[in-house]
């Protein structure tokens, strides 16, 4: 009480220093805009929650009957209560890792070239070319991969398996490097080929995020690096790459999220198999989305619930990947605010 009195005393002498009202009362347009944006934001969140809830409810029947063996079983016989995602989930990850492994250097190089190296005249053309790649429907990539690309990439697979088969990852059962009559088919329909095709779809997404980030590199720091005698590569190395690290990681993770969920291109290329297969060059692989696309047509009742459970696992995995990505982007220097 006494404290209040001490502060209240001068107020009696001077007019109260109330801050001036700066903001005008929001107009009708502003109010509507605020409400609408809030609503759309909530709708997006609501849809996400609804998808998760729906998948959980639908999957509960299957998950209850298998329990934890759902994570360790690799076969898929839901009607015999013997099914799990061990094989499909590792297959999904294998394809996505291959895709990102190829797309990352490609997209980073493209983004750096467009923002730092290419003459300004060429820049917009290159940007629209990369965006064009993102606009091609994935079924076209799949068909192209199946009927054209697969035959062309076999040579690469064979070369890798011939020289690096001492690494278990690149071993191919049935490959006979010395034999002229060895079959090419052991290299087809593999996680590697599916991954290469998916990488082409992932690349534009990653590239556009990295391009955004690299284009925000503060001009002062760039010029400073040049003034200190840095070459262009030196500038990229000491200024652009550290500045854009958050964007690189975030873009990569977003691409990974897309690669995890890619369906039709993988379905067209891969030969589904239900065992954990780490030999990425070898024929046969699997992914969650392929499994769902392949089996949902025939599935009824319990089988459908099992597919929903697989979908739930993929949903959770994709969410984790995307949240990690956005956390990285938000915490990075380039993502938090533009300083230039």
């Amino acid at each position: 009480m006494s404290m209040t009195m001490v502060y209240a005393a001068p107020a009696a002498d001077l007019p109260a220093p109330t801050p001036r009202q700066l903001a005008a009362p929001a107009g009708v347009g502003d109010k509507i805009f605020t409400r609408v944006t809030l609503l759309t934001g909530l709708i997006v969140l609501g849809v996400m929650a609804a998808v998760g809830l729906f998948l959980s409810i639908e999957a509960s029947q299957a998950l209850r009957s298998t329990g934890t063996s759902f994570l360790t079983t690799s076969e898929w016989f839901p009607d015999r209560n013997q099914f799990g995602i061990a094989a499909v989930l590792t297959g999904t990850v294998a394809i996505a890792v291959v895709a990102v492994g190829i797309a990352l250097p490609l997209s980073m190089g493209t983004a750096l070239f467009i923002t730092q190296v290419a003459p300004p005249k060429l820049r917009s053309t290159l940007v629209s070319l990369v965006d064009l790649m993102a606009a091609v429907p994935s079924v076209l990539y799949g068909l192209w991969g199946l009927f054209f690309f697969q035959g062309q990439v076999i040579g690469v697979s064979r070369w890798i398996s011939t020289w690096f088969s001492w690494i278990p990852l690149f071993r191919v059962t049935g490959a006979e490097p010395g034999s002229p009559l060895s079959n090419q088919t052991v290299f087809t329909a593999s996680a590697f080929i599916a991954g290469v095709v998916v990488s082409l779809m992932v690349m534009p997404i990653q590239c556009s995020i990295m391009r955004e980030v690299f284009s925000q590199v503060p001009i002062g720091e760039r010029e400073g690096a040049y003034a200190l005698g840095a070459t262009r590569w030196g500038m990229i190395r000491i200024v652009a790459l550290p500045f854009g690290r958050g964007g690189i990681i975030g873009g990569t993770m977003l691409g990974l999220g897309r690669a995890l969920g890619e369906t039709i291109a993988v379905l067209l290329i891969i030969s589904p198999r239900f065992d954990i297969n780490f030999h990425i060059l070898e024929a046969g692989g699997n992914s969650v989305s392929t499994l769902i696309a392949l089996r949902y047509k025939e599935a009824t009742g319990f089988g459908l619930s099992a597919l929903m459970a697989a979908g739930l696992a993929l949903f959770a995995l994709t969410l984790v990947v995307n949240f990690t990505a956005s956390a990285f982007v938000a915490r990075s220097r380039s993502g938090a605010s533009s300083e230039a």
Binding site: A189, L268, E282
Partner: protein
């Protein structure tokens, strides 16, 4: 003022015309209006069904057929999301492979056979760079190939079937269906009936046991490639990298892909190809359920086909079925029933004329007549009284016998099991013969001639003379395994005849190197177009946005 009057008059005239047009359309519509109908199912029969769907467009009937596989078709029908389904096998009340039973309501559906055909074994195999078109396989070898017991093409068991071919030491790559498929069901049913031991051991190995009955989901083990749909299988087998692959598809897909199919040994000792005539003959032995009260009325039992003693039999012949609704429900209503009925009548009658040209076999008269009775049960159908002769079905005759089957030619003697082998091609390459050693064996020196003739002789006519030299010259030559890229024998392996063999092969290679031709020009044009497709949008965009400030 005058312009305004003119304008008003113009609008009035236009409106009047529009109304007149609309009323004319409305007036004409009810008598001939058909609703759009949709179906899904068998990809085995998809060639025939899609052709029917295209042909009924002329009557204003639109049918969307989606070849998603028989299992998916039956499932869609049960869910009520399609108006009809096509399936190679009936509903599975008690599946033998451990999958969930299908439980359609009794009396809510009927089967009518839609077409017949053979499940054929399309393969991609070359000897010495030349495509083999006359492969023969016994049923047991087919079963062993698709269960991984026979793994290389030069297996002695295959040599017995193909005395005229020197099959290479290449791995066999079986290509099967990855989706739920009636072809897989028919194929495994045949295998279980005829080669149960082979199937059972495979089933156990693949982890399916104890549910080892016939299955729509072919078990896969490493080494077997699985693809979705008949189109996926035939598409994979026909790729240039897929040398050594063999897959099971409907005969029509092999024709469409321009690839050969294996002739399969029947129980009378002849190797046959599933031509429309042979399928027609074979299916005379199919036991059709004629109990009209049964849920499985008109469905087939193929045991008799597997064992048919007719020389012309192809053991893997079968019918494929439409599943038609007899109750309204789901997306199906009586208005659609009218369309579906008209489509079904067309499928049973006029469509059968075209079956043979597509690689399918037309239905015999008794099945068409029974199907007409079944079509009456579709709700909303406009019943047609069709005089059976007007259908121009090639199997029909005045006395009721199956003309197509009666007049089917007997297989040539070179197709009989034994030391000779026909050179004529099969499937989609029936005009491309494969040189066989049988000629060399009879005319030449005996023991070693078989190998030599095939090595040098698998060439086209332009290599004919050198070919003959190779037959004579390589008589004493041992096993020459030619390099697939160059077509040459490794030095010395061909013995005394190797020089002559090389001569023959060189001729072949020269005849293949054609120089500049239309295909090269076409490639450049295509390349240019693709380049344009990539660059033009970007260039146009740049051009259009030039004026704007950045």
């Amino acid at each position: 003022m005058t312009t305004r009057v003119r304008f008003t008059r113009l609008v009035a005239v236009l409106l009047a015309t529009a109304f007149a047009g609309a009323s004319a359309v409305v007036g004409a519509a009810p008598s001939e209006s058909y609703q759009r109908i949709s179906g899904s199912g068998s990809s085995w029969a998809a060639g025939a069904i899609s052709s029917m769907a295209v042909n009924v467009k002329q009557f204003g009937i639109t049918v969307d057929y989606n070849p998603t596989g028989s299992s998916a078709g039956r499932s869609d029908f049960l869910k009520g999301v399609v108006d009809f389904a096509a399936s190679d096998i009936p509903f599975q009340f008690k599946p033998e492979d451990g999958s969930a039973p299908e439980r359609p309501a009794a009396g809510s559906y009927v089967y009518i056979p839609v077409t017949a055909g053979g499940t054929s074994f399309m393969y991609n195999l070359k000897i010495n760079g030349q495509r083999v078109t006359n492969l023969r396989l016994s049923g047991e070898n087919v079963a062993k190939i698709f269960t991984g017991s026979i793994t290389t093409w030069n297996d002695p068991a295959l040599k017995v079937d193909n005395p005229g071919l020197t099959l290479p030491a290449r791995k066999i790559v079986p290509v099967v269906r990855s989706d739920g498929s009636g072809s897989s069901a028919q194929f495994t049913k045949w295998m279980i009936s005829q080669h149960k031991g082979v199937w059972d051991s495979f089933c156990t190995r693949s982890g399916r046991a104890p549910a080892c009955g016939f299955t729509s989901f072919y078990p896969t083990v490493p080494g077997i490639i699985a693809q979705s749909g008949d189109l996926g299988v035939s598409g994979y087998v026909s790729q240039s990298f897929a040398e050594g692959a063999i897959g099971y598809v409907n005969y029509s897909y092999a024709i469409g892909s321009r690839f050969p199919v294996a002739k399969v040994l029947n129980s009378s000792g002849y190797y046959t190809e599933p031509t429309p005539e042979k399928v027609s003959v074979s299916l005379l032995k199919a036991q059709i359920n004629t109990n009209a009260a049964s849920d499985d009325y008109l469905t087939q039992n193929l045991e008799g086909v597997y064992r048919d003693p007719d020389k012309r039999n192809y053991p893997l012949s079968s019918y494929s079925y439409f599943i038609l609704p007899t109750k309204v429900g789901g997306t199906f209503n009586t208005a659609k029933g009218k369309t579906l009925g008209a489509f079904a009548y067309y499928a049973m009658c006029q469509a059968q004329q075209q079956s043979a040209s597509l690689g399918y076999s037309p239905l015999p008269i008794n099945l068409v007549q029974s199907s007409f009775e079944q079509i009456r049960k579709i709700p909303g159908v406009a019943v047609q009284d069709i005089t059976i002769a007007s259908c121009k079905n090639p199997t029909f005759s005045a006395d009721g016998t199956n003309v197509l089957a009666k007049n089917a030619p007997l297989p040539p003697e070179c197709d009989k099991q034994g030391p000779t082998q026909c050179a004529t091609g099969t499937g989609g390459v029936n005009s491309t013969p494969t040189a066989t050693a049988s000629g060399g064996a009879t005319a030449g020196s005996g023991t070693g001639a078989g190998t030599g003739a095939t090595t040098g002789g698998a060439a086209d006519t332009s290599a004919g003379t050198a070919d003959a030299a190779a037959v004579g010259g390589d008589g004493s030559g041992g096993e020459c395994v030619p390099d697939p890229d160059t077509g040459l024998c490794p030095a010395g392996s061909g013995g005394s005849g190797s020089a002559l063999v090389q001569g023959a092969v060189t001729t072949t290679l020269l005849s293949n190197a054609g120089g500049w031709s239309s295909s090269q020009t076409l490639m450049i044009v295509v390349f240019g177009l693709i380049l344009l497709l990539i660059l033009a949008p970007a260039a146009a965009w740049r051009h259009l946005s030039r004026g704007e400030p950045r």
